[in-house]
């Protein structure tokens, strides 16, 4: 089986689907000739031509809106937003339009649209190339929001997203692009879009997280392991809908819960996971539900000491886990 980077797995998912289904197309800034500013779509325009891998104007509402129109007319578009930070001009098309089309037409129309964007920091991207804004979309019924944490899931979830009949926001951690490698089957496969995955089994603490933080959590769990604390790491994978049953199962079994994320905590994915645990696992809790995330500042700054102060790394996570373990 091939070992691919996270980025290559994403590219392969799109490429395989475009070969299998000629309705699939990609539209966004620099996706064509340049192959994307990160190189995700490299080679695809050469293979599929400039109408199926198309460079858009610098206009995010246009990017999303054109893909909505193309999807109305039978295509399966993948809109690429260059950085999640720049998705905001497109939010009207995403929230007012894409999310509501099936509901408002009483199921006469549906909107099979994928919107991909790289998010997250730790790459000296500063305030406008490092944000984690996924939570705002998790609030919107009619959207799916997914974040793969490894190359296998990246390909399988992207294929599933492209085949899904509803709008899927597919966020890729930009620091994972070239730093994560893993085995990815060459054959056709999908990964379900509504399931969390237990990455590491444990008994004492369940850590719920997503994206690059999954890897950080596994590293922290291994440190605690040496001292006899057994930490379960659950990769949420689907942020909307959250895998309620999966979350409850792990939380009840472990009794102690930590929700970890890169984004700041207020009104975030961690808030929703905590609410679910509080509602459905109260009788099984052996400690308060804890969270760890970025500080309440507008975004991650450029200077390294400031960026490091923002990021949750394995040391900070370990400290938090230990305090919870000792409770």
């Amino acid at each position: 089986m091939a070992v691919l980077t996270y980025l290559e797995a994403i590219r392969e998912g799109m490429r395989d689907e475009m070969r299998r289904d000629d309705r699939v197309m990609i539209f966004g800034e620099d996706v064509g000739a340049k192959g994307g500013v990160f190189g995700v779509t490299e080679g695809l325009q050469r293979e599929f031509g400039e109408w199926r891998v198309m460079d858009s104007p610098l206009a995010e509402s246009c990017i999303v809106g054109v893909c909505i129109g193309a999807a109305f007319n039978g295509m399966r578009p993948i809109a690429e937003i260059q950085f999640q930070d720049f998705i905001l001009p497109g939010v009207d098309q995403i929230v007012s339009e894409a999310a509501k089309i099936r509901y408002r037409s009483n199921d006469d129309w549906n909107m099979p649209l994928v919107i991909r964007a790289p998010f997250g920091g730790g790459v000296h991207g500063a305030l406008y190339h490092s944000q984690s804004l996924e939570a705002m979309f998790c609030h919107v019924p009619g959207l799916r929001v997914v974040v793969p944490s490894n190359p296998y899931d990246a390909k399988g979830m992207l294929v599933a997203a492209i085949r899904d009949p509803d709008p899927v926001l597919y966020f890729e951690h930009k620091r994972a692009y070239r730093s994560l490698r893993g085995e990815v089957p060459e054959h056709e496969y999908t990964v379900p879009l509504n399931r969390a995955r237990v990455v590491r089994q444990g008994e004492d603490i369940a850590v719920f997280t997503y994206g690059l933080m999954v890897d950080t959590a596994v590293q922290a769990a291994e440190r605690l392991d040496r001292d006899g604390f057994s930490v379960e790491v659950v990769d949420l994978r689907s942020l909307r809908p959250l895998d309620r049953a999966g979350i409850v199962e792990s939380a009840r079994r472990c009794g102690k819960v930590l929700v970890a994320q890169e984004a700041n905590l207020a009104v975030s994915v961690s808030s929703e996971v905590s609410a679910i645990v509080a509602e459905e696992c109260f009788e099984y809790l052996d400690a308060p539900v804890m969270r760890i995330g970025g500080p309440e500042v507008p975004a991650m700054p450029f200077a390294k000491p400031l960026e490091d102060a923002y990021l949750v790394d394995v040391d900070k996570l370990e400290i938090k886990l230990r305090s919870l373990a000792e409770y």
Binding site: M25, W51, R52, S56, P57, A59, S61, C62, G65, V66, C67, I68, G69, A70, A71, F72, N73, G74, M75, P77, P89, D92, Q93, S96, E97, K100, I101, R102, Y103, R104, S105, N106, D107, D108, W109, N110, P141, G142, R144, D164, P165, D166
Partner: protein
Amino acid sequence: MVVANRDVRAVTGIDAGTLRAMYRHMLRARLLDERIWVLNRQGVVRFWVSGMGQEAIQVALGMHVRPGIDWVAPYYRDLALSLVLGMTPRDQLLAALAKADDPNTGGRQMPAHFSSRRLNIISSGSVVATQLIHAAGIALASRIRGEDAVTVVTTGEGATSEGDFHEALNFAAIHHLAVVFVVQDNGLAISVPTSRQMPTPDVADRAAGYGIPGVVVDGTDPVASYQRCGEAIARARAGRGPTLIDAKVPRLTSHSSDDDQRRYRTEEALETDRQHDCIGRYARRLAEMGVLSAKAADAVRAELVAEIDLATAEAEAAPDPAPESVHLHVLGDA
């Protein structure tokens, strides 16, 4: 006395049958519109937004569209357009009464949010101008598949200040997509006049910035509208790119049933608009051309009233949506 068809065609460029058909469509839309206002004032229709005065341009445009083949992205005043394309008075009354069988939205949206997958009328929401970009995307898909379908999209002049209007024209123009943008300029965005909406007198002036033709037309003249729309659609179908049609129309009613335009418009302005009512003027013109006598026009009116009466009764008797259905159709699996 029946005037020879070729004489009518020589004068208008349109045959008599088409001229009569357009009158019928316009009058049907007007009568339906009036009926819904009545129901609103009765308290039965909770909200209505009207297209009265804009029937001519809408019907003329719709006559050139092949329903189910070409594509239409309408806006909320397009009652007449929706009927020309094949929706019925019963459909729109079901919508006005928010009934479960409303084909547009199942009663989920306010009325006048036209939608029909069968007829290639895309679903629209209440945010203005978003559909302009959708139209460009629809036309892109047609281009990718090598089809000769044309996409027509309509909007009011107020929405041409939105960023989406500019992003849509920009993109469609770059790639010479088969889109016809039809702006129905009725001079007001609720209470804000066009002088506060754009720096130049005509929406058509905006087209030059995108390198596409901007065509001003009297939107109350079905003949002129038919010709301009036909040209624009032929242009698009021939691969020569988009056109912006700026159709001037009056606004005979307030913005919506929640608005009273007498509070911000003078009686003179309102009277001027009434003078431009397309229905009466067109009827007189058809009579003068010998295409449709007054007697024949009355017969048409009577038929249409009967049709609308029947549709009203059916719609009023139809069931409301079930409360538990509020949870359905958020995503595909439920």
